[in-house]
Assembly symmetry: C2
Homo-oligomer: 144 residues x 2
């Protein structure tokens, strides 16, 4: 079930959304969690920039917020597509191994590349890269 | 224990190396496995290129082989550094959660960036990106 939470000190807010379908639930969960990680990355990077330059302006804060939303949505979309694809492949194949990650990665790579207005060969290359990255990540899981 | 294998039809060759130290074992294992994935990516991409252009030359094969070695070594090195770092952090902290991935990712990002002749701010940015990617991957593991 997708959960999003905010914690400040000892107070905590938890939101859980149930969409009544495991595929949708996982996709939304992936979007929320990885989107938050992507947004945090931008926040950390821009905070570091502010520390370096020693100045904070309203305009800069607005820019950071916009960038956080944009990058968070992108990371979230990529993760959501991949998690949904892998779950779908797992259901169709009926077993769980690294080939799910490979197929899910290839499908996600092709889909995301096609959605970014790439054509022909570039889509195939991105599909191969997506499959390779997903397989590498799956192997690293078994190692750690 | 690091294992490398070749399988062709029903015959299989398995090589296992024991370096007598779990940290070294994991690092070498990560290098071999992820290096193989990186090399396969190049092979698949260049095979696709050959299919597209419809021609295979000796020079092109040599180029592909060189690129496979280079990219395999790079992917392997990145994975080895990350796996080693995460294991080290786990041993030092004494517990296993997503913070290990975050710290390991930050350390690996900084190390790899420094090794690629980057300076100052770029290293810090790469460290933040490394930490974010490692955290995102760790969250995806829990989802799938």
């Amino acid at each position: 079930m997708p959960r999003a939470g905010l914690a400040a000190g000892s107070s905590k807010v938890d939101i859980a959304i149930d969409l009544g379908n495991p595929l949708l639930n996982r996709t939304v969960d992936g979007f929320l969690k990885i989107g938050a990680v992507g947004a945090c990355r931008v926040a950390a990077e821009d905070a570091f920039d502010c520390l370096q330059s020693g100045s904070v302006s309203k305009r800069k804060l607005e820019q950071t917020l916009k960038k956080m939303c944009k990058e968070g949505a992108y990371w979230g979309a990529v993760a959501g597509v991949y998690v949904g694809m892998e779950y779908g492949v797992e259901r169709v194949r009926g077993q769980y191994d690294w080939k799910n990650a490979l197929i899910g990665g290839i499908a996600s790579g092709a889909l995301i590349s096609a959605a970014s207005d790439n054509k022909g060969n570039k889509i195939a290359q991105d599909a191969i890269t997506g499959g390779a990255i997903a397989t590498a990540v799956e192997f690293i899981n078994y190692l750690t």
